[in-house]
């Protein structure tokens, strides 16, 4: 195979590829980038770690069809430092990738392209155009409560569901680690129907987030068979979905509450950030004492000392004492952007719900976090 291409375009594609290529894998070919011709004027540049695949289609002049693979990192680094704007690449004997640009000539060790894992079939899939900023927001608002335990694959990811039609469509992301749960719904006009939803693994979300940050405005998404696809321009990111089913999360969210505490977001956030400094480093547990009009937050750590914060809150009713992991609250509060938040409680050992206090909250546009209390 042989082709001639613009340096800048190839460099961008190689940059994505070397971010995905897996140099630590036991399969040497996963460290390589695949360059395969796709007709007389187009090549596909692809890299994969088997779970995440990035493919970019680039216009170029193909003089002989075929494919090659070579170390993604090395090829990227070489192309990056080439002086001229155009370069040509060809497959030499013994699978070497020979790169010529002006007077520079490099040969990079390669492997046969037929050994490269099959690429996800994104060309057969129908894509839907949606707002990338909304997806980014959904990921940010649920990412922190994903379980870090990769062997519990059903919790090591975010559940994505899309419901409603056309302009009324909305997307929902839910994540939980067994101690807390975050659920976010946002209008996403044009989204495909995705009920039941799919579980996107944590690693995949990190790459999706990165790709979304790089793309301003609209992106195209699709979910088919065992992959979730995100297309930004000529680049398609394919994430292999977890097949395990997500737990029935609606059962975890309390339907009603006996106590409702309204508090200023920034005051609660700042107070928790201070008090966590003297909380136990294993549990981050703090005690909340809520009385009419006032919330007292206390932490007592025999190794460090004690702390107490008092806040004015909107609450009328019987006193209540409840313990929470302060880190969970802080992570949730840092994603809430309304001036006030609402804490909904039942008994001392029942889960609490924290949500922004906002008129716009409703089906298709809401955010909430469920946090299990602690016995302190």
């Amino acid at each position: 195979m042989e082709f001639r291409i613009e340096k800048a375009a190839l460099l961008q594609a190689l940059y994505y590829a070397q971010g995905i290529a897996d140099r630590k894998s036991t399969m040497p070919i996963l460290a390589n980038v695949l360059l395969r011709s796709d007709g007389p004027d187009r090549i596909t540049v692809a890299a994969t770690d088997l779970n995440i695949t990035v493919t970019t289609e680039l216009p170029c002049e193909v003089s002989s069809e075929g494919g090659l693979t070579a170390s993604a990192k090395h090829l990227h680094d070489i192309v990056k430092s080439l002086p001229s704007d155009k370069l040509s690449l060809r497959r030499a004997d013994n699978n070497y990738a020979e790169l010529v640009s002006g007077k520079a000539n490099y040969k990079v060790v390669g492997l046969p392209d037929r050994d490269f894992p099959k690429l996800p079939p994104h060309k057969d899939v129908q894509f839907y155009r949606v707002d990338g900023a909304v997806l980014r927001d959904l990921i940010a608002k649920t990412f922190f409560s994903i379980s870090a335990d990769e062997t519990r694959s059903h919790l090591n990811g975010v559940l994505l569901e899309c419901d409603g039609d056309g302009e009324q469509a909305f997307a929902r992301m839910v994540s939980t680690d067994g101690h807390r749960l975050s659920k976010c719904e946002r209008p996403l006009p044009g989204a495909p129907k995705l009920m039941p939803g799919v579980v996107i693994p944590r690693r995949g979300l990190i790459e999706l987030r990165r790709a979304l940050e790089g793309s301003g405005g609209n992106v195209e998404i699709a979910s088919h068979n065992q992959y979730f696809y995100l297309r930004t321009g000529a680049t398609v990111l394919s994430v292999r979905l977890t097949e395990a089913s997500f737990p029935p999360y609606e059962q975890v969210i309390p339907r009603d509450h006996q106590r409702r505490v309204v508090v200023k977001r920034s005051e609660l956030f700042d107070a928790l950030k201070r008090i966590v400094l003297v909380a136990s480093e294993k549990t981050w547990g703090v005690r909340m004492n809520i009385a009419s009009g006032q919330m007292r937050i206390e932490s007592d750590n025999p190794d460090l000392g004690q702390g107490r914060e008092e806040l004015d809150v909107g609450y009328q009713g019987v006193d209540c004492n409840i313990g929470f992991n302060a880190k969970y609250m802080i992570e949730l509060l840092s994603e809430i952007d309304t001036p006030e938040v609402q804490l909904e409680l039942n008994g001392d050992l029942d889960p609490g719900v924290l949500r922004p206090l906002d008129d716009k909250q409703g089906v298709g546009n809401q955010y909430l976090g469920v946090i299990m209390p602690m016995r302190l």
Partner: protein, 347 residues
Amino acid sequence: MQTAAETVQPDAAPYLRGLGGIIGQPAVVSVLRSALASGRPHHAYLFDGPEGIGKATTAKALMAALNCMAPPSAGDACGSCESCLKIASGSHPDFIVAHMELAGLADEIERLIKRLCFRPVEGRAQVVLIDPADQLTAPTALVAANRLLKTLEEPRPDTHFVLISTSANGLLQTIRSRCQRLRFVPLSDDLIRQALKTQHALDEETALSVTALSQGSLGKAVRCAQDPDSLKKRQTEASGLLAAAKAGRAVEICQRASEIGADREEAVEVLELVWLSLHAELRRHGKLGLLSQSQRLAQALRAVRETQTAIRRYTSAPLSLERLGRHLHGALGRAQLQPAQPGEHAR
């Protein structure tokens, strides 16, 4: 894109023909064939048998048969489709080979479990090769072995484990009970000679001499043929140890034991040659009808096997070899000094 030079010859990779390429294991092949024909292969197989008789090859053949795009019949593979070629070049993403070095074994098993949460990447089924599974018996590998249990018991429907073991009885009962055990038998001399000639292009004479040493193990025969120097070295060490033991030269036994025992793997191989030489002696005595001498030799042979097992199980190799030296002297040394009397029982 594929050139003629890159095409893998089926002779060099018998597993590319699927189970049809497996020689000398009719019982195993028939069990696997009927499992594949019924469309319900077991989720975990334990391939048990001596080294070098086709266990790993059968695992690859199983992988090829499960994923071949144009199988000639259930259990066979075409050897030329994309899937078969990837298996041959070792780049099939669904043939997962676990790295069984003891250092970091628990992490490796953890990685494996994570990976097995997913469907096969491109094939119909994924095969996980755990070779040698005997590593899981080491005291430091207990955590790894226990971590594996849940996935081994109930993997995804398209996932099949193949555990390869040369001493399956030593494996944890909890691992054994989760697997279907298939026993591999040593190959006949004819089969080995034939395979050496066709698959490894050896001439008749070399094939004959190497077959004699192979004890039914094609792998061992091939290794011997490829590395005649180290074979010679082992032979010298083995005959030296045996001579010292027979003559009862205690100092020399100790010296040789520490030399041979420096490399655990090597020590097991040298002992194999000691065993072979004693076995040949036993055959001669058997023909002559010397019952008492035969009993002594049988005792010595058992001692050699026990020492090999002990060395494999991480006892000190030099000490085990010294102990064996004393045993051999006890069994053989006196027999030579005092010719056996009619009716005397072996000690």
